[in-house]
C-alpha cells in the first residue's frame, strides 16, 4: 500500500531563514521557566525552613512578572500575531488569551498549593520517600514540613502549558506536552494523607499519559511522513493538496487527536480522569482540572484550525461522535458518583464535550467562544476544588457525599459558595457557565450543528441533576452525625476561592470585555 514511497525523494523544503528571535513575545515563558530553574536551585541550596517562604514568593513573583511582561507585550502586539523562537512559537491572539488565562489560573492554583492553614503544613507530603502506613508516615502527617519541590514543578508544568498552546510545530508541541505532563505525574503522588491513593493516581496517570504521548508521537511521525514537515502550517498546506496517500494524513491525525483528547480528558479517553482527580492532592487536582484543560484545548484548537481546516469535512463527523460520547459519559456517569472529587471529574468530562463542540465549529465564533468557555470553566472548577479542600473530616478531606449532608446548617457560607459554583457548572444564568454555554452553542448552531446542540442541552439538563443532588444534600438533608468540620481557610485559600467566585460571577453578569478579548484575533497561520 505504501509502494508509492519508492518514488524518488521529494525536493527538500527550504528551511526557514534564520532571523533573530523577537524575544519580547516570549518573555512570559522565559520568566516562568527561569523561575522554575531558580526554584530547583533554592531546593538545593536553602535550608529546609526557609524554602517554603522563598518558593512561594519566588513562584508568585514569577507568575506576576510573567503577567506583567504579557501585559506589556499585549499593548502593542501585532494584530496578526507573530512567530517567535525561529518559528516554533506562534504568538497570536488565542495564544496570548490562553497565556493570560493560564497565568491568572496558576496564581489561584499556587495559592491553593501553598496554603498551610487548611491542612497544617499544607496538602503535600513532608518527604515523598517515606512509606505510607509506617511510623514515619504518621509522624510526617503531623509534621509541618512539606515537599517544596512542588513549586518549581508547578512552574515547569505551567511553562509547558504555555508553550503547548503556542507551539507552531508538532515537535515543539510534543516537548511541551512532556514538560507539562512529567511534573504533574509527580505532583499527583505527593499527597500528605491517603498516600496510597495518591501514589496509585500518580502511577495510573503516568502510565496512561506516557501511553497517550506515544500515540501522539506516532501521529506526529505519520504526519511528518505525509507532509515532510511538522509545521502546522505546512501540514495544512500539504493537506490542502498533495499526491501523497491520505492514509498517512488521517492515521496521523487520528493518533495526534487521541493524544490531545487524552490530555483534555474527553471521553472515551477520559478513563484516567476520575481516578487521578480523586487520588491527587486537591490543590493539584484544581491545577490540573483548570490549567491542563485550558492548555490541551488550546492545542486542539490550534491543530484543528491551522493544520486540518481543509480536511474538516472528513474528521468533523468523527469529532461529533466523540463530543456526544464525552457529554453523555460525563453526564450519565456523574449521576451515581458518591465522591465529590470524582463527581467533579465527570463533570469536567461532560464539559470537555461541550468545549469540543465549540472547537469543531471552525469559525471565529467557534474559536472565541471556546476560548471564553475555557476561561469560565477553569475558574469555576478551580474555586470548586478549593472549596472541596475546606470540608474536612478527622482523616483529611471529607470527599464522600454522604459527609456533605446538611452542610448548609453548619457553615452556610461555604455551602452558598459551592452552590453558586455548582449552578455555574450547570449553566444557570447570571453565572459564567451560562454565558459560556450560550456562546459555544450559539457558535455551533450558526455553524449548522443544531442536532449536536440539542443533544448538548439535554446532556446539560441531565448533568444538572447531579449538581442539584449535592445542593439537596447540603441544604435539605439532616446533617450527618460524625459530619465533617469546615476549616476556616487562611488567606491563601480564601484568596484563591474568592478569585474563582468573583470571575465566575463577573463573567456571568458582565462578560462583554472577556468576550471582546477572546475574539481578539485568529491563529497566525505561517
Amino acid at each position: 500500500m505504501l509502494t508509492y514511497l519508492a518514488q524518488e525523494p521529494l525536493p527538500v523544503p527550504e528551511t526557514t531563514a534564520i532571523e533573530p528571535p523577537p524575544v519580547g513575545a516570549v518573555w512570559p515563558i522565559l520568566i516562568i521557566l527561569a523561575a522554575a530553574c531558580a526554584g530547583v536551585l533554592v531546593e538545593a541550596f536553602l535550608p529546609k525552613h526557609q524554602r517554603w517562604s522563598t518558593q512561594v514568593v519566588l513562584t508568585l513573583l514569577a507568575i506576576v512578572g510573567a503577567g506583567a511582561a504579557l501585559a506589556g507585550y499585549i499593548v502593542d502586539a501585532p494584530e496578526a500575531g507573530e512567530l517567535a523562537m525561529y518559528g516554533t512559537l506562534a504568538v497570536d491572539g488565542p495564544a496570548l488569551f490562553l497565556w493570560g488565562t493560564l497565568l491568572a489560573l496558576s496564581v489561584g492554583a499556587v495559592l491553593l498549593i501553598a496554603d498551610r492553614s487548611v491542612e497544617p503544613g499544607g496538602a503535600f507530603v513532608a518527604t515523598a520517600a517515606i512509606r505510607p502506613g509506617t511510623v514515619q508516615d504518621r509522624a510526617q502527617v503531623q509534621s509541618t514540613g512539606m515537599q517544596t519541590e512542588v513549586f518549581p514543578l508547578t512552574l515547569f508544568a505551567l511553562g509547558g502549558m504555555m508553550i503547548f498552546c503556542a507551539a507552531n510545530d508538532l515537535l515543539t508541541m510534543f516537548i511541551a506536552l512532556e514538560v507539562l505532563s512529567l511534573p504533574l505525574y509527580l505532583m499527583c503522588g505527593l499527597a500528605r494523607r491517603r498516600r496510597l491513593l495518591s501514589q496509585e493516581a500518580a502511577v495510573k496517570y503516568f502510565l496512561l499519559g506516557a501511553f497517550a504521548s506515544a500515540f501522539f508521537l506516532y501521529g506526529i511521525a505519520l504526519l511528518y511522513g505525509y507532509s515532510g514537515s511538522v509545521r502546522l502550517a505546512d501540514i495544512g498546506a500539504a493537506a490542502a493538496g498533495t499526491d501523497r496517500s491520505d492514509t498517512l494524513l488521517f492515521a496521523g491525525l487520528g493518533l495526534l487527536v487521541v493524544g490531545l483528547l487524552f490530555k483534555a480528558s474527553v471521553g472515551p479517553f477520559h478513563t484516567w480522569t476520575p481516578d487521578v482527580y480523586q487520588g491527587a492532592p486537591t490543590p493539584v487536582t484544581a491545577f490540573m482540572a483548570a490549567c491542563t484543560k485550558v492548555a490541551a484545548f488550546g492545542g486542539i484548537l490550534r491543530v484543528l484550525q491551522v493544520a486540518f481546516e481543509s480536511t474538516s469535512w472528513e474528521w468533523r463527523g468523527v469529532l461529533w461522535g466523540i463530543a456526544i460520547i464525552s457529554m453523555v459519559v460525563g453526564a450519565v456517569l456523574g449521576l451515581t458518583q458518591t465522591d465529590v472529587k470524582r463527581m467533579l471529574a465527570y463533570s469536567s468530562v461532560a464539559h470537555a464535550g461541550f468545549l469540543l463542540i465549540g472547537a469543531i465549529a471552525l469559525t471565529e465564533k467557534g474559536l472565541s467562544s471556546t476560548l471564553f468557555y475555557l476561561l469560565t470553566y477553569a475558574f469555576t472548577t478551580l474555586a470548586a476544588f478549593g472549596v472541596v479542600s475546606l470540608v474536612r473530616g478527622p482523616d483529611g478531606e471529607a470527599t464522600h457525599l454522604s459527609q456533605w449532608a446538611g452542610l448548609a446548617k453548619r457553615s452556610p457560607l461555604v455551602a452558598g459558595v459551592f452552590t453558586f459554583l455548582l449552578l455555574a457548572m450547570a449553566g444557570v444564568p447570571l453565572t459564567s457557565g451560562f454565558v459560556g454555554k450560550f456562546v459555544v452553542f450559539e457558535a455551533a448552531l450558526s455553524d449548522g450543528m443544531a442536532p449536536l446542540v440539542v443533544i448538548a442541552l439535554v446532556a446539560s439538563a441531565v448533568a444538572a441533576f447531579f449538581y442539584l443532588r449535592v445542593i439537596v444534600l447540603m441544604y435539605f438533608s439532616a446533617p450527618a452525625e460524625d459530619g465533617p468540620t469546615v476549616t476556616v481557610p487562611g488567606a491563601f485559600t480564601t484568596a484563591a476561592i474568592t478569585l474563582g467566585v468573583i470571575v465566575t460571577l463577573l463573567l456571568g453578569v458582565a462578560p462583554a470585555f472577556a468576550l471582546d478579548w477572546a475574539a481578539g484575533g485568529a491563529f497566525a497561520i505561517r
Binding site: 502511577v203 495510573k204 502510565l207 496512561l208 501511553f211 497517550a212 500515540f215 491520505d246 492514509t247 488521517f250 492515521a251 491525525l253 487520528g254 493518533l255 487527536v257 487521541v258 487524552f262 472515551p268 479517553f269 478513563t271 484516567w272 476520575p274 481516578d275 472528513e314 474528521w315 463527523g317 468523527v318 461522535g321 466523540i322 459519559v329 450519565v332 456517569l333 456523574g334 449521576l335 451515581t336 458518583q337 441531565v462 441533576f465
Partner: protein, 651 residues
C-alpha cells in the same frame, strides 16, 4: 311579527328608569345579612329580609301601573345600567328590559316571594340562630331571579340563571348536617349545570352567527339565519330550560330538592325558579315562532307532553307529601312547556298557567309545610289522615289550592289548563290528537293523585295516633301561627280568583312581548274541551276517592304491588338511568385516569430518571480501576477513531 318585536324597544323613562332598585333592594339585603353575621342580625334579620322583598313588590306594582298607562308599543323599555363585558365586537351590558312579560314575572316573584318570606318568619322560628342567613339566601334568590327575568340579553339571563341555581343549591342544602340534603343540593346544581351548558352553547352560537347576545340584536337577526342554526339554538335553549324546569330528561333533581325547607320548595321549586325554563322559551318566542324553528318547537311539545304524563304517573305512587307535590310541579310545568311549545297559540296560556300554578302550588306547598310543621316534620302521608279538624285553616286553603290544581270549574286551574288543552288540540293532524290526548289524560291523572293526597292527609282515620316520629316524640298536630296562615289564605284567594281575572286580560297584556294569540280552528270546540276536561277530572278524583277514602289505609307502604306502581315508585327508573349512563362510567373513568396519571404519565418521567440512574450505575462498573483496562479502552477508542476517519475518507 317576531321581527318588529325587537324594533319596539324604547329607552326606559319615568319610574322604569330607576328599575335597578328592583335588583338592588334584595341584593343589598342579602349582602347586609351575610356580612352582619348570625349573632348581630338575629333580632332584625328576618324583618329586613322581608322588607326588601316587599319593597321590591311595591316598586313592581308602581312599574306595572305606569306601564299599563302606556300604549302597548311603548311598553317594552330598555334600561342600560353599565357595560359589563365589552371586548371587541362582543358587547355585553348589564341592562334591564322592562316589558309586560318581565313585569308579570316581577310581580309573581316579588309577590309570592314576599308572602313566603313572611311565612318563613314563622316556619324558621325554631332555628333563630341561622334564620338571618336563611333570609339572606332567600333575598339572594329573589335578586338573582329578578335579574333573570329583567335582563335584556341572554348573558344577563344566564347570570341570573346560575344565580338562582346557586341560591337553590344553598337552600336545598340548608340542613348541612344531613348528608342527603347536601347530596340533593349537589345533584340539583349539577343537573342544572348540564342544562346551563346548553344555554351557554346557544349563546356562543348566537355570537358566532349574529355577533350579539342581546335580545334586541338576536331577535332582529334570527330571521335571517339558516334552519340548522335556528333549530340548533332552539334545541340548546330547550336543554337549558329542561335543566332548570325539571323537564325530561333532567327531571330527577326536583324531587330530591324537597330536602330543603318547605318555604324554599314553595318559592323556588314550585312557584318561580323552576318556571324559568318556561320564561326562557316564552322570552325566545321570536326564535321559536319562526317557521324554521318548527322542528325545535315540536321537540319542546314532545318534552312537555312526555314530562307532564311522567310527572303524573310518578306522583300517583309516592307517599312523601312534598315529593308528590314536586312531581305534580314537574307535570304542571310539562303543561306549560307544551303550551309554549305550541307557539303563538300557546305562549300566553303557558304564562297564564305559570301564574295560576304559582299561586296554587305555592299555596299547596305552604299547606304541606304547615302540616309538617305541626307533625314534627313528618313527611309520610301514610302516617297522617283526618287532620282537617286539627288544622282547619290549613285544610281549607289546601283544599282550595287542590281544587284549583285539578281544574275544578271556574277556579284558576280550570281556565289556564283548559286553554292549554284546547290549544293542544289545535295542532293539525296527528299532533292535535296526541298532545291534546296527553294533556287530557294528564288532567285525569292529576285529579287522581291530588285527590289521593288530600284524602290520605286530611280525611279518613287519624292513623298518626299512637305512632311516634323518628325523634321518638308523639304527634301533636296543631294549627300554625298566623305568620304562616295569612300567606296561605292570601294564596288561596289567588288560586281561586287569579285564573278568572287573568285569563281575559293576560293575552293582550303580553302581546308586546310574545305576540298576539293565534286563534286556530281546533279539532274540538272550546266548550267541548271544557266538558272533556271536567269529565276527566271527575273520573280521576272519583277513582281516587273510591280507592283511598273508603276502608283502611296501611301505615306501612305495601311492598307487594303491581309492576307499574313499582316503576313509578322508582321514578320510572330515571335515576337508575343517570346512574348507569353517567355516574358509574364517570367514577370508573376518574379512577382509571388517576391510575394512568400516576403510573403512566408520571411513571414515564420517573422511569426515564430511573433508567438514567440504572445505566449510570451499570456503566460505572466499567471504571474498573485497572490501568490496563483503561489502556485498552484508549487503544480501542483510537482504533475506532482512525478507522472512522479512514472510512469517511475512502468510503
Amino acid at each position: 311579527m317576531s321581527i318588529n318585536l325587537a324594533a319596539e324597544v324604547a329607552p326606559a323613562t319615568g319610574a322604569a328608569s330607576q328599575a335597578w332598585l328592583l335588583l338592588a333592594l334584595p341584593a343589598l339585603g342579602a349582602a347586609v345579612l351575610l356580612l352582619a353575621g348570625r349573632r348581630r342580625a338575629q333580632g332584625w334579620g328576618h324583618l329586613l329580609g322581608s322588607a326588601t322583598v316587599l319593597g321590591a313588590f311595591v316598586y313592581g306594582l308602581v312599574l306595572f301601573f305606569e306601564s299599563t298607562g302606556l300604549s302597548p308599543d311603548q311598553r317594552t323599555q330598555d334600561l342600560l345600567l353599565f357595560e359589563w363585558i365589552p371586548v371587541g365586537s362582543l358587547d355585553v351590558d348589564i341592562a334591564l328590559r322592562i316589558d309586560p312579560l318581565s313585569l308579570t314575572f316581577v310581580l309573581l316573584i316579588t309577590g309570592v316571594g314576599a308572602l313566603i318570606h313572611i311565612y318563613s318568619i314563622g316556619y324558621m322560628g325554631h332555628e333563630r340562630e341561622d334564620r338571618s342567613r336563611f333570609f339572606a339566601y332567600l333575598n339572594l334568590f329573589i335578586a338573582a331571579m329578578l335579574l333573570l327575568v329583567l335582563g335584556n340579553g341572554f348573558v344577563t339571563l344566564y347570570f341570573g340563571w346560575e344565580g338562582v341555581g346557586l341560591a337553590s343549591y344553598l337552600l336545598i342544602g340548608w340542613y348541612q348536617g344531613r348528608g342527603y340534603a347536601a347530596t340533593a343540593a349537589k345533584k340539583a346544581f349539577l343537573m342544572n349545570r348540564v342544562g346551563d351548558v346548553g344555554l351557554a352553547l346557544a349563546i356562543f352560537l348566537m355570537f358566532k352567527t349574529m355577533g350579539t347576545t342581546s335580545y334586541a340584536g338576536v331577535f332582529e337577526q334570527i330571521g335571517g339565519q339558516s334552519t340548522a342554526v335556528v333549530v340548533a339554538i332552539g334545541l340548546l335553549l330547550l336543554l337549558g330550560a329542561c335543566g332548570k324546569s325539571g323537564q325530561f330528561p333532567l327531571q330527577a333533581w326536583l324531587p330530591d330538592a324537597m330536602a330543603g325547607p318547605t318555604p324554599v320548595s314553595a318559592l323556588i321549586h314550585a312557584a318561580t325558579m323552576v318556571t324559568a325554563g318556561v320564561y326562557l322559551i316564552a322570552r325566545s318566542s321570536p326564535i321559536y315562532s319562526l317557521p324554521q324553528a318548527a322542528d325545535a318547537r315540536l321537540v319542546v311539545m314532545i318534552v312537555g307532553a312526555f314530562t307532564l304524563l311522567l310527572g303524573c304517573v310518578i306522583g300517583c305512587a309516592y307517599d312523601d307529601f312534598k315529593k308528590v307535590l314536586a312531581y305534580s310541579t314537574v307535570s304542571q310545568i310539562g303543561y306549560m312547556m307544551l303550551a309554549v311549545g305550541l307557539g303563538p297559540a300557546g305562549y300566553a296560556f303557558g304564562i297564564l298557567h305559570l301564574l295560576t300554578h304559582g299561586f296554587f302550588k305555592a299555596g299547596l306547598f305552604l299547606g304541606a309545610g304547615s302540616v309538617m310543621h305541626g307533625m314534627n316534620d313528618e313527611g309520610d302521608i301514610r302516617r297522617m289522615g283526618g287532620l282537617w279538624k286539627k288544622m282547619p285553616i290549613t285544610f281549607a286553603t289546601f283544599a282550595l289550592g287542590y281544587l284549583a290544581l285539578i281544574g275544578f270549574p271556574f277556579l284558576s286551574g280550570y281556565f289556564s289548563k283548559d286553554e292549554i288543552i284546547y290549544a293542544a288540540f289545535g295542532e293539525e293532524g296527528w299532533r292535535g290528537w296526541v298532545f291534546g290526548g296527553a294533556a287530557l289524560l294528564g288532567a285525569l291523572l292529576t285529579a287522581f293523585y291530588m285527590t289521593r293526597l288530600l284524602v290520605l292527609v286530611f280525611l279518613g282515620k287519624p292513623r298518626w295516633e299512637g305512632l311516634k316520629s323518628e325523634d321518638g316524640k308523639d304527634y301533636h298536630p296543631h294549627e300554625s301561627p298566623s305568620t304562616m296562615t295569612i300567606p296561605m289564605i292570601i294564596l288561596a284567594f289567588g288560586s281561586v280568583a287569579a285564573g278568572g281575572i287573568l285569563a281575559t286580560m293576560l293575552p293582550e297584556w303580553l302581546e308586546p312581548s310574545v305576540g298576539a294569540v293565534a286563534e286556530r280552528e281546533g279539532l274540538v270546540s272550546h266548550g267541548m274541551v271544557a266538558v272533556m276536561a271536567t269529565v276527566a277530572m271527575v273520573i280521576g278524583a272519583g277513582l281516587a276517592y273510591l280507592l283511598f277514602a273508603r276502608g283502611e289505609q296501611p301505615v306501612e307502604r305495601p311492598q307487594r304491588v303491581s309492576w307499574p306502581v313499582r316503576a313509578a315508585r322508582a321514578d320510572l327508573y330515571g335515576n337508575h338511568l343517570n346512574e348507569a349512563l353517567f355516574a358509574k362510567p364517570g367514577t370508573w373513568l376518574t379512577r382509571a385516569l388517576v391510575f394512568v396519571d400516576n403510573r403512566g404519565v408520571d411513571g414515564l418521567v420517573n422511569g426515564i430518571a430511573a433508567g438514567l440512574g440504572g445505566s449510570s450505575g451499570r456503566l460505572r462498573r466499567t471504571q474498573t480501576g485497572f490501568v490496563r483496562s483503561y489502556a485498552l479502552s484508549m487503544l480501542g477508542g483510537s482504533i475506532l477513531v482512525i478507522a472512522a476517519l479512514l472510512m469517511v475518507r475512502f468510503a
